[in-house]
């Protein structure tokens, strides 16, 4: 257990190695990057095994303090890691999914300019993410939090020669920064008011000092929630995620699907004590989650860009997690986080392989008929899609999403509307997933030539002349992660399978050591079965509708330009106009203010400069080099002095 420091240290070492070893040739950089994350995954597994085998599963907390960091009076945060059931779950997800994505990238990114840089950033990201989830105090957590944000920025703008990618990176950085400021304020508030930055210690003191629903508790929870909303791309700070798809597909898989965007869920779960003390904020969490779920799900239906569909889908799935958090189903949220990491990273990797095979074509309307040409990608993508829509036999999404929906039903009362929102979300998920499936894989090929013929939405640098591209030329390093992830999706849900199907809530009881168990008001087996049947039927009902939608969309596509899309469709495709609203409310005024030459922020420093200039001109005029004036001033001064002395 003392070796826990190895888990984040290995990827960090990999980053240092990659950052300074620029002479690595060919795929060495990729292999080094994957190896360090792989070793980190091995040590994470050992830690998890040691953790599970000592004492009753999931109850203990191991804290290792590596060295003191800052001395801030009573609150002196250290570089300290704490291992409990929640962080063990998170490091397993991060390292295993991270390793598979690194492995995939060895071949996927081959031939790209900056191959080396890519793996350095990816390793740095994994290290920061592990620091985030292992942190023993809020300040170290914040370090990891900002670190992953930085890596996200660097990797979104990986193809930085294209200006649009740089803009997307900046947008992601700035929008999440709004949430980060809230989080930092919240952390400082906790330190000032509770006198401790330790997560466990602050939680204990808060529970003792603050009354439920009191102003301080609400403020603390709201500020932490602000950070979580930004990082997890929830309303109203969600606009950066679709644009973040400008980065390479493995980046989208690792950062913008599996790990970083779910850090908000982790943060809320980790600080569950503060949220339990603030029921109003809990309600806000649930409502924002439900709103994001519906808005993002609806936006996904209208998208043309393969990766943007998946991005909106990610936002919508994280909406489910926030819904679960909002009704205090902590374990359910974390379980969905884990399964979502599996199936969404699988979807992104398969999508990335398809996009590369089609020469960076990202428009789903230009695809079609790929089921026959790329059977491996088809079947693995299908496994991910079944996970996303919670269809058997893939258990990953099935177990986790149904658990959340059932949980929402049991909450009852006014919260029943959340259940309806979740059910509507199920239908939306089914619609956009199967629309995408039909458009990409069914029918005949529509234009996008294989092997990098056409110019796609992304005109980035192509890796010319290597075997990673091309439908049939998928190498082992690409195929193995896809297959492993598919298998993990197939069985992942069994960790916490509904009891009426003969499963056992292993995962829930494991996490119960770190998170408060949601009161188990579960009804009879029959009731649970009925509750699970509802989403299943809705999903199945969505399939034919999605088929019709895909066909109509294709028919409309064949019509001349101009008639193609209605205004409503354009509005939905633009993500319900949030971008335009923010441009109008915030970006526009700031740009106007800056453009007019009156920079309010600069006013103080400009004034200081002007004062110095004027004062210096005044004094300079006395030094004009005219001896007669010097003399006159001297005489007048002497006369005044004499007069003062003698009169």
């Amino acid at each position: 257990m003392e070796l826990i420091w190895l888990v984040p240290a290995l990827p960090l070492a990999g980053f240092v190695l990659l950052a300074f070893g620029r002479s690595m040739r060919g795929r060495t950089a990729g292999i080094v990057g994957s190896l360090t994350v792989g070793l980190s995954a091995v040590s994470a597994c050992i830690v998890a095994w040691l953790f599970a085998s000592t004492g009753p599963p999931g109850t203990a907390v191991y804290a290792t303090s590596l060295w003191p960091w800052l001395e801030l009076g009573s609150a002196s945060p250290a570089i300290a890691f704490s291992v409990d059931a929640l962080s063990v779950t998170m490091i397993l997800v991060v390292t295993i999914v991270g390793f598979l994505i690194h492995l995939f990238s060895i071949e996927h990114m081959a031939g790209e300019e900056g191959y080396h840089r890519f793996f350095a950033y990816m390793n740095l990201f994994v290290a920061f993410m592990l620091i985030l989830v292992l942190a023993d105090n809020f300040l170290l957590l914040y370090l990891g939090w900002e670190g992953v944000g930085l890596c996200s920025f660097l990797l979104i703008g990986f193809w930085y020669r294209d200006r649009a990618n740089g803009d997307a990176a900046r947008k992601a950085f700035i929008v999440t920064r709004i949430g980060d400021v809230a989080l930092l304020l919240g952390i400082l508030m906790l330190a000032a008011d509770l006198g401790s930055l330790g997560i466990g210690e602050a939680s204990r003191r808060a529970a003792a000092a603050w009354a439920p629903g009191s102003g301080m508790a609400v403020l603390a929870a709201a500020l932490i929630l602000g950070g979580a909303l930004g990082k997890s791309a929830q309303l109203p700070l969600h606009t950066w995620l679709p644009d973040a798809m400008a980065g390479p597909s493995p980046v989208s898989a690792l950062i913008h699907a599996a790990t970083m965007v779910t850090a908000g869920v982790y943060l809320v779960a980790r600080s569950n004590v503060f949220f339990s003390l603030a029921p109003q904020v809990m309600t806000a969490v649930a409502i924002l989650g439900a709103a994001t779920l519906l808005v993002a799900g609806a936006s996904a239906i209208a998208q043309r860009d393969f990766k943007r569909i998946l991005a909106y889908s990610t936002m919508s799935q994280i909406g489910y997690m926030f819904l679960a958090l909002g009704v205090a189903a902590w374990t359910g949220a974390v379980f969905h986080l884990a399964t979502h990491a599996l199936f969404k990273s699988l979807l992104f990797l398969a999508a990335g392989a398809i996009i590369n095979a089609l020469g960076h074509e990202r428009d789903v309307f230009a695809m079609g008929g790929l089921a026959k040409k790329m059977p491996l990608l088809f079947w693995t993508f299908l496994a991910g899609a079944f996970g996303l829509t919670a269809l058997p036999p893939v258990t990953a999404g099935l177990a986790s999403k149904d658990a959340i929906i059932a949980r929402l039903w049991y909450v009852g009362g006014d919260a029943r509307i959340l259940w309806w929102a979740a059910m509507a979300g199920v239908l939306l998920t089914s619609l956009y997933t199967f629309r995408m499936l039909f458009l990409v894989f069914a029918g005949e090929s529509r234009g996008a030539a294989e092997n990098g013929g056409s110019v796609g939405l992304h005109a980035g640098p192509h890796g010319a002349g290597h075997d990673g591209h091309g439908g049939s030329g998928i190498g082992a390093a690409t195929a193995i992660p896809l297959i492993v992830l598919s298998l993990l999706c197939l069985v992942g849900g069994l960790l916490d399978f509904p009891r009426f199907l003969g499963g056992s809530p292993f995962f829930g009881s494991f996490l119960g050591g770190a998170l408060p168990r949601s009161a188990d008001e579960g009804g009879s087996g029959l009731q649970e079965a009925l509750l699970s049947l509802g989403p299943l039927l809705l999903t199945l009902a969505g399939i034919p509708i999605a088929w019709l939608m895909a066909r109509r969309a294709l028919e409309r596509e064949a019509e001349p330009v101009g008639k193609r899309s209605s205004r409503l469709a354009a509005f939905v495709r633009g993500g319900f106009g949030f971008d335009r609203l923010y441009a109008f409310l915030f970006v526009g005024p700031i740009l106007r203010l800056a453009g007019r030459g009156v920079d309010a922020v600069n006013l103080a420093s400009e004034g200081l400069r002007g004062f110095a200039m004027r004062a210096s001109r005044l004094i300079r005029s006395s030094q004009d080099g005219r001896p007669r004036r010097y003399l006159a001033v001297l005489a007048v001064g002497a006369a005044i002095l004499l007069a003062a002395v003698f009169l």
Partner: protein, 110 residues
């Protein structure tokens, strides 16, 4: 020397000094400014002599010798500088010297 003649003599010294000072401020020619400096110096020397005579001590006259030497040195250096400047700048007005620019002085002389 009684107190009254002392006051008169010191008044003469003051008048001499003020004449020198006023001349230095008012005149623009460097030569005249140098002359005025001499007048002021003489005013100060005169005050020393008077003070020496009043109290019957030799230090006043000794100081005047020093002043004469200083004035002689000052005239020697100052007059040389002024003549050199008026030769190279073709003007001997103090106002023209406010920018002590070596290039200008050299080119003015050329």
């Amino acid at each position: 020397m009684n107190a009254q003649s002392l006051e008169l003599a010191l008044g003469l010294a003051a008048v001499l000094f003020v004449i020198g000072l006023a001349g230095m401020i008012a005149r623009r020619s460097l030569v005249f400014m140098l002359l005025c400096a001499e007048i002021m110096l003489n005013a100060a020397g005169f005050a020393f002599i008077i003070a020496g005579a009043r109290w019957g001590r030799p230090e006043g006259q000794a100081m005047f010798i020093f002043l004469l030497v200083t004035a002689a040195a000052e005239v020697a250096v100052g007059l040389a500088l002024i003549l050199r400047l008026s030769a190279s700048l073709s003007a001997s007005l103090s106002g023209k010297l406010k920018d002590l620019d070596a290039d200008e002085i050299r080119s003015g002389g050329a």
